[in-house]
């Protein structure tokens, strides 16, 4: 059905384009398709990662239903797939075939760069100008060579989630703003016999994110931007990041045996330690509000004691102290998806739909005008910090692509395990870039 229609649409597009070129001396290639919008029935297949039953999944079902109600020619078929499965196996395999999903989860960065090189994605640049203007610089993550190939619906920066009650008990007056203050806070927290910082190193990325933050503080913005595009890691700041991390680990801020502690999803995870009052801090992204709640024995208490502050600065380092690490979720349209796909994507990132998304509490909205949907105080402070950040660096493993990202994370984890070195991280990244 969808295939047949797509072939028809392509033919129609081809004919009208030919007519236009002949008659009007050239025009916007997309214009004829706009005229064809909502004329013929189309089915859009939509793959997203809100696979667990909950407000996120329900909300996407509502969004699809609302869109179909407004545009009766459009039927939307949803498939919700768990993130790892979606990103690692289902999506790459489907994109290799001639019939990929029309609209699907996109994380931006290095992976999107490769997908664009393979000509999988629809160029949205001309059609989403208003939306890009509204969302702002966060859309850069879904750009390749200045062209827009996807749009974010969730965007947030990383910071430290902490237990306000424990901070008060330990006599820490205000959240640390420099690493010296963070180190002092760690000492004070040890004195009251709590785990200063919970770390889910078992999942690798929660540990690697500490290295990313040290890299963000050690490297200039230009160095990081260049590294993301060219995969060149010659700047000594990448080794410096590892050295800073090593001395930080040396202060023993984490729980014992953190190398086997999972990041989230069960009570024994780092999330569980913070949510259930065993640890005072955790470095994590904006989605943590929701994931903490799922492992909390007492969500009411959690709501009261939970706070958030940005990753502290390192005095005298090359990096921009107001820069932050972040990332988000977005959607892309397949190269040959019907024009309605782009319209649906624009609908998803419109302020009203984004406001509803924010109300689900599953993440921070990317669009301006949706802030009113954010109720939680911790999430509000992230929203403020995000708009106050001078530069948002995409998670380094996403920015560098899975191959370099995976090698980098493994090598950072080795430092945590005590058998890696700062130099080996950079070596592993360089070796992986060639694989």
């Amino acid at each position: 059905m969808a295939m047949k229609h797509r072939a028809g649409a392509t033919l129609a597009l081809f004919l009208t384009t030919a007519l236009l070129v002949a008659g009007c001396n050239g025009g916007d290639d997309e214009a004829p398709a706009e005229n064809e919008l909502y004329k013929n029935p189309v089915t859009l297949t939509w793959w997203h990662n809100a696979s667990q039953d909950g407000p996120g999944k329900t909300y996407w079902e509502k969004v699809a239903k609302d869109f179909s109600a407004q545009h009766p020619t459009v039927t939307i078929q949803i498939e919700a797939i768990e993130t790892n499965q979606l990103q690692r196996t289902r999506l790459p395999a489907a994109l290799l075939t001639s019939d990929p999903p029309d609209i699907f989860q996109a994380w931006g960065g290095g992976e999107m760069r490769e997908q664009v090189e393979a000509d999988y994605l629809k160029d949205l640049t001309d059609q989403v100008k208003d939306e890009v203007a509204n969302i702002g610089s966060a859309t850069e993550i879904w750009q390749v060579n200045g062209k827009q190939y996807g749009m974010p619906y969730r965007m947030g920066i990383e910071g430290i989630w902490y237990n306000k009650d424990m901070f008060a008990k330990a006599g820490i007056a205000a959240p640390p703003t420099t690493f010296e203050e963070l180190n002092q806070a760690v000492t004070k927290l040890k004195a009251i016999n709590v785990i200063p910082i919970a770390l889910g190193a078992g999942d690798k990325w929660p540990a690697a994110h500490w290295w990313y933050n040290f890299a963000l503080r050690a490297c200039s913005v230009d160095t990081l931007k260049k590294a993301s595009v060219d995969l060149v890691f010659d700047d000594p700041c990448f080794v410096k990041a590892g050295q800073d991390l090593k001395s930080f680990i040396g202060t023993n801020p984490f729980q014992p045996n953190f190398i086997a502690t999972p990041g989230q999803n069960d009570p024994t995870s780092a999330n569980g330690l913070l949510a259930n009052g065993k640890a005072a801090m955790e470095l994590m992204g904006d989605w943590n509000r929701g994931t903490l709640e799922t492992v909390s024995a007492n969500p009411e208490a959690l709501k009261k004691f939970l706070g958030w502050f940005p990753v502290p600065a390192i005095t005298g380092s090359a990096g921009d102290p107001k820069a932050a690490l972040g990332g988000g979720d977005g959607f892309s349209c397949a190269k040959n998806a019907p024009a309605e796909c782009v319209e649906f994507l624009k609908y998803i990132v419109s302020p009203e739909v984004q406001k509803g998304y924010a109300e689900t509490g599953t993440g921070l909205p990317a669009a301006k005008g949706a802030e009113a949907g954010v109720a939680d105080p911790a999430l509000k402070s992230i929203l403020e910090a995000t708009s106050g950040a001078t530069y948002v660096q995409l998670w380094l493993d996403t920015a560098f692509g899975s191959t370099v990202g995976n090698a980098m994370n493994d090598a950072v984890v080795a430092i945590f395990a005590g058998n890696g070195t700062p130099e080996k991280v950079v070596e592993a990244m360089k070796a992986a870039a060639k694989k």
Binding site: F258, I259, S402
Partner: protein, 331 residues
């Protein structure tokens, strides 16, 4: 084909001397042979089609893809020959995975064999509640791998149930960081795998024991053999074929160990090589590092090792048991 006596049930001692068969019988024999061939083709074709499509063709593709530097985006174009194979054997983590597989293969045989034999001999005696015991012993094997993995992950977590139990028993000094200590974790995995699969060995051996004719044990008893002597000199030799088949299955399963380790051991510990097996290494590199060409090379290595191990085992240990079935009829 029509004259091949081995295909004809009528062939053999009762067959009439060649050259003198009555015409009527010859045509009926030819028809019967033809019918037999139709039968063979009809009955095996579906299986052969499935086998070719889902085993041989994917294997061929795996070998093909393994010769490319390919990240799964666009068609593979960057031909690198056997570079991926060289890379694998140069990666210390892959060598760790090989060592871990060796530990699991030999560890499983050495642990599960004696345990299964002892329990099977015990459960072969008549006593009250024998059926319940048999059921209990088999439960871990029936449980899904993921269930077992999550269960043990929670039990073995730091200050978890296992640690608490050991301390209660006054064995606090034995407490280890079961899943976090990089030198301990592979032995923890071996323990969980043993717990999971020993039930299978027991059931196989029980089936083998039930095939031993009671006349033999009765005869041994009449001759004055003790229970121990009966087990040692009657039961054990007759269990030989069963034990060898179990060893074969256990070895192949251990080489391909994946699910329990994937679930019980966290990614960080795997990626440091402490608990990686060839199969987890393949998935970590193929899918998570998105090195599809390289992942296929690892898959081919895993296949080659399993295949060679299987052939050697059949050639040297299983030959007596499968004679006729695989190696052809001997006169």
């Amino acid at each position: 084909m029509t004259t091949n006596p081995t295909l004809s049930p009528a062939g053999g001692a009762s067959a009439p001397p060649a050259g003198l068969p009555p015409v009527r019988r010859r045509s009926s024999r030819a028809a019967e042979t033809r019918r037999k061939w139709y039968e063979i083709i009809g009955l095996t074709t579906p299986a052969i089609v499935v086998y070719v499509m889902f085993v041989l063709v994917p294997m061929g593709f795996a070998v093909y893809y393994s010769l490319f530097r390919w990240r799964g985006v666009g068609p593979p174009t960057d031909f690198v020959g056997y570079d991926n194979y060289v890379l694998a054997f140069q990666d210390p983590i892959f060598l760790d995975a090989l060592r871990n597989n060796a530990i699991i293969v030999f560890g499983s045989l050495l642990l599960q064999g004696p345990i299964a034999l002892a329990v099977a001999l015990l459960l072969n005696r008549r006593f009250r509640g024998r059926a319940a015991f048999r059921l209990l012993v088999f439960v871990p094997y029936v449980l899904a791998e993921v269930t077992v993995g999550i269960m043990w992950k929670l039990l073995l977590t730091g200050d978890g149930t296992v640690d608490a139990l050991l301390r209660q028993l006054g064995l606090g000094s034995f407490v280890q960081a079961w899943l976090a200590d990089l030198d301990v974790v592979i032995w923890t995995m071996l323990f969980v795998l043993t717990w999971k699969y020993v039930g299978f060995a027991i059931i196989l051996l029980l089936a083998g024991l039930s095939n031993v004719p009671p006349e033999l044990t009765e005869a041994a008893a009449i001759d004055g053999a003790s229970w121990w002597q009966t087990q040692r000199h009657v039961m054990l030799p007759l269990l030989g074929p069963t034990i060898r088949i179990w060893m074969f299955l256990s070895m192949i399963g251990s080489l391909q160990a994946f699910e329990v380790i994937w679930v019980t051991s966290v990614p960080a510990v795997r990626s440091l090589g402490a608990s990686a097996t060839m199969a987890t290494y393949m998935v970590d590199n193929g899918f998570f590092a998105r090195l599809w060409g390289y992942g296929n090379a690892v898959a081919v290595i895993l296949f080659a090792i399993s295949f060679v191990a299987a052939l050697l085992f059949q050639r040297f240990l299983l030959r007596r048991d499968i004679e006729g079935a695989v190696t052809g009829r001997r006169n």
